[in-house]
Every structure is written in C-alpha cells, then in structure tokens.
Amino acid sequence: MPSREVLCLDCPLACHMEVSISEEGTILECLGARCKRGLPYARQEIKSPKRVLTVTLLTKGSRATLLPVRSDRPVPKEILLDAAVLLARLCVSPPIQAGQVLLADLMGTGANVIATDDLPEDRDLNP
C-alpha cells in the first residue's frame, strides 16, 4: 500500500503527515495531524495541490502606489505564476474597501481576487 509524506500547510505548525493511499487514489490512513484539518488538507494536496495567491495591484488616482490583494480561497498551484502575470496588468482606483472583489473567478478557478486593505479616496491633507 503506497504511503506518502504530506506536510500540512494549513497552519504554521506544519504537521508531518504520513498518508496511505489506495490504488484508486483514496486515502486509507492519515497519521501525524495534530488537528482535524490535516485529513482534508491531505486529500486536497494529493488530488490537486492548492495555494492562496497574494500579490499587489497597481493603482491610479491614489497616493498609495499599490493595493495588496489575495485570492479568497486557494487556487491550483500550477496557475500561480500565470495568475500573477495576469494581475500585474490590472490597475485599480479608489475608493476600495478591504474584502471588495476586484476580479471574480480568477482564471476559471472560482476564486475571487479581493482587496486585503482599504484604498481610500485621498482627502485634502492640508487643514
């Protein structure tokens, strides 16, 4: 019965798990997780490894040069670089609130790209 080491990356504890996989690819046993998130993580990692993408977007009309963004859920590991190239071409303008969707359904993954910080309108700063 083939077994595989999977490092759970769900949290910084990074449990080393040992996973036994059946011929059909289902998990028979998963040892070493310190919480219940380990097993679903292992399942996903073996089926299709996914990661959260975090980058910055260029802005226009704001004193802040960039806006930090993230995918609101993990996306397939293989598309990270292509997604980063795609997002490098975007430009956003205020007002934007943290959590706001800036690009829906990134590359057909179902994940949305959301702001992780506000991009407020510039107010007159001289009283």
């Binding site: 769900d10 949290c11 910084p12 990074a14 990661r51 910055t56 040069t65 670089l81 190239v85 992780t116």
Partner: protein
C-alpha cells in the same frame, strides 16, 4: 489640524504594530481612561503593512489572514475604543521616570505618562554584520527592505537574486520575487537546517523550484556600481568556508535574511536592563522591565515566529500596565524568581516570575533535536516533543499554584528521552 498631545496620558504605548495595538486595547478594556499610541510611520500596523502574504491569525482568530487583514482588526478596535493613535511621530527619548520626548507633525512633545509599554519591534541585521567582502555596489538589500520596496513602494530591487539566509523573510521574498517575474538563483543557508518554518520552505522554495543550499555561505560580492555576482562556498563544522567549493552565482541582487534584533535604542537610553541573548529587555511575568511602570511586549522583547503570540504578549503587557496605573504604581516588587536556560535552551522569556498568576513561558532551543522532553524544575512541568528546532518557539503554561512551592531559581532544560528497553 495636528492635535496637541495630552501631556499626561495614563498609558503611552510606543509602536502601533500588533504588539502595541494589543497592549493599548487590553489596557483600555481594563478601564484605563487615556491611552496614547505613538507610531513613527504614516499608518498603524507596523511591519504587518508590508506583509501581504497569509499565515497570520491561524491561532488567534482561527483564520488564515494576510498581514494587513490581521492588523486592521486591531486598528479598527483601537479606534472604536477611543485610543489615541498618534502617527508620523517618533519617540526620541525615554527617561527613567517615564518622561517621553516625541517629534511629529505637532512639533516636539514632552509627555509624562503613568506607565509606558515598549512595542517598537525589531530590526534586520545588515551586510555590515555579515561582513561579506566586496565593494559597495547597489543591489544589496535586507529582505525586509526588499519587501517594502516591492509591496509598498512599487519597485523591484533587481531581476536576478541570490538570497543569503533561509529565515522566514528570506523565503517569503524568494516567492515574492518569482511572482514578480524575477529569477531567484538560490537561497543560501550557513546552517545544516533551514532557519525558517517548514511551511515557508514548502510554499516558497519547493513549490517554485528554488534551490536551498544548506551549509553554504556568501564569501564575496562582485560588482562595482551594481552587483554582478556572488561567490558562495560550502562551510565546514565551524562555519568556515571550505577551499575548493567556491561557486560563482551570476545575479544583480543579493538579499540578506540573516537575523532580526530587537529595537532597543530607547530602552538602552533609559537604562532598562537588557538580556544579551534575546537582545531585548529583561522582563518578568507581568512583562515589566527593570524600570517600574515600563512594560514591553512583542518583537522588542524577543523575536517571534507568529504574530498571534505577539498579540497575546501585548494583551498581557496591557493588562499589567493597567493594573499598575490603577494601583497607583505598585509597591516595591517582591523578590522574583529568575528562570535559567538549561541544557539545549537558547533563551526563555520571561526571564523571571513574581508568582501570583498563571504564567506562559516562551522559549527556543539552541539546536534541533528529536524525541525530547522539556523540563521545568525542579519538578514543575514536563512536555514531550517529537522534534524541536530553534526556528519554532515553544510555550509552556504554568498555573499559578504550581509556582507556590518554588523558592530559589527555576531551570528549564531540553533533555533527550531515554528509550525504554524492550
């Protein structure tokens, strides 16, 4: 209109990063009326503002947040509670009676709070510390500087990088550079094991095919006006370069991730006693320094791996500062019990306990080890670990009553577990 600062706040917190915000919120919630947080940057949040990646809040909120998302929860709470956030203001001086001199848009201010919380965070070690031979070309940056350049200022430090040091910041920046279209030739680490977390090793290096060269170091930087290459070499057991193993890596950028050091200029100036292993002030279980009414929390005390624990430390310091203010500055402290770092323990914080409340000890081992037992004694607590490494801070919880029986000193040590004969 720049406001005039209240010259007699109950509590002044220096730094509006996660430690300072947590302390300020905790003190306000404990009933302190006037809490002021002094922040040198334009915005609160500290280093979290430039940490656009996730990994924050898994312990504290049970959510995987980015730095700005984690930070904004505390900034919003602080504002809701009426905590005064004074930005663009640097504290220049801290005197023993807690007299603070600060400079900002409102000019020079002198304030005399009843209590102070130090939460200034830490700084990165530089090329000068690493002593890498070569001329002084452009293109050598600390990893955190590169992070600010890319994530806040919108500049690439270069296009082809070598990263010295496998600390978390170095690995995070390796991934960040690749996502911005740069090439990362290698992450070079002098130790035989990575100094950052396994999560970062997997998500930043392995995922992107970036080589991690353990037991290697940079021995020369080439280039006069701009970095052209870095020569690396393998090191032996004494961390000395092994002749004949030199390799020249072509690059235009060298990022340094060679350690963080608590920012203690103010503490040092004020005469606060420092711990030369952590680099930060000595604190007791109330997070109080050697100066009465001066508390400290977060990376200024010792460098943390997880911001969640920084928040917890801030909460503790804020509560203790509130208690101090509400009790008119407490009576002279009784004898506190010092805690000694024993076998394979690099340091433990707090360095002393007064007793009378539950205590959480934070510590790091000196060397990685497998199958060990942390022992706090004599005879107080034991905790087993399958493996321990210096990059992972450990915690030991001590209930108040367990300390009642202690007199003299406490020692924490990391011992190999004896295999049972079978």
């Amino acid at each position: 209109m720049p406001s005039v600062m209240n010259p007699h706040p109950d509590l002044a917190v220096i730094g509006a990063g996660p430690a300072g915000l947590a302390a300020a919120i905790s003190a306000k919630e404990a009933g302190i009326a006037i809490v002021v947080v002094l922040e040198r940057a334009e915005r609160p949040g500290g280093i979290l503002q430039q940490c656009i990646h996730t990994g924050f809040g898994l312990q504290y909120f049970g959510e995987d947040l980015t730095g700005p998302e984690y930070s904004s929860r505390f900034v919003e709470k602080a504002r809701d509670l009426g905590i005064e956030l004074v930005q663009d203001t640097s504290v220049l001086e801290l005197a023993p009676q807690r007299r603070l001199v600060a400079a900002g848009k409102q000019g020079l201010s002198i304030i005399n709070p009843l209590a102070v919380v130090l939460a200034m965070g830490c700084r990165e070690r530089t090329r000068a510390w690493a002593s890498i031979p070569g001329s002084r070309p452009t293109g050598v940056f600390t990893a955190g500087t590169a992070q600010r350049l890319i994530n806040v200022e919108g500049y690439l430090p270069g296009r082809r990088a070598v990263i010295l040091g496998s600390g978390d910041i170095g690995m995070i920046m390796a991934r960040r550079l690749v996502l911005e279209g740069c090439r990362v030739e290698a992450v070079v680490e002098v130790l035989p094991y990575p100094s950052g977390s396994p999560r970062n090793e997997a998500q930043c290096l392995r995922d992107f095919g970036i080589p991690l060269l353990l037991e290697h170091t940079a021995i020369e930087i080439h280039g006069r006006d701009r970095v052209e290459a870095v020569t690396i070499a393998q090191v032996n057991g004494e961390r000395r370069p092994v002749p004949g193993t030199e390799q020249r890596l072509e690059c235009d950028t060298l990022l340094l991730s060679v350690g963080l050091v608590p920012e203690t200029e103010l503490a040092y100036m004020a005469g606060v006693k420092l711990d030369y292993t952590t680099g930060g002030p000595l604190v007791d279980d109330r997070m109080e320094t050697s100066l009465p009414g001066v508390f400290a929390c977060g990376n200024v005390v010792h460098v943390h791996d997880l911001v969640d624990y920084v928040t917890l430390a801030g909460v503790a310091a804020g509560s203790a500062a509130a208690f101090y203010v509400q009790n008119g500055g407490e009576a002279p402290r009784g004898d506190s019990i010092p805690i000694e770092a024993g076998r394979n323990i690099r340091y433990v914080v707090p360095q002393a306990v007064r007793g009378g409340q539950d205590v959480t000890l934070y510590l790091r081992v000196a060397e990685p080890e497998e199958d060990v037992e942390l022992r706090l004694g004599p005879g107080l607590a034991r905790q087993r670990y399958k493996s321990v490494r210096p990059s992972e801070m450990l915690r030991v919880e001590l209930p108040a009553q367990s300390l009642q029986s202690v007199n003299g000193r406490l020692t924490v040590s990391c011992e190999k577990r004896r295999k049972s004969s079978a």
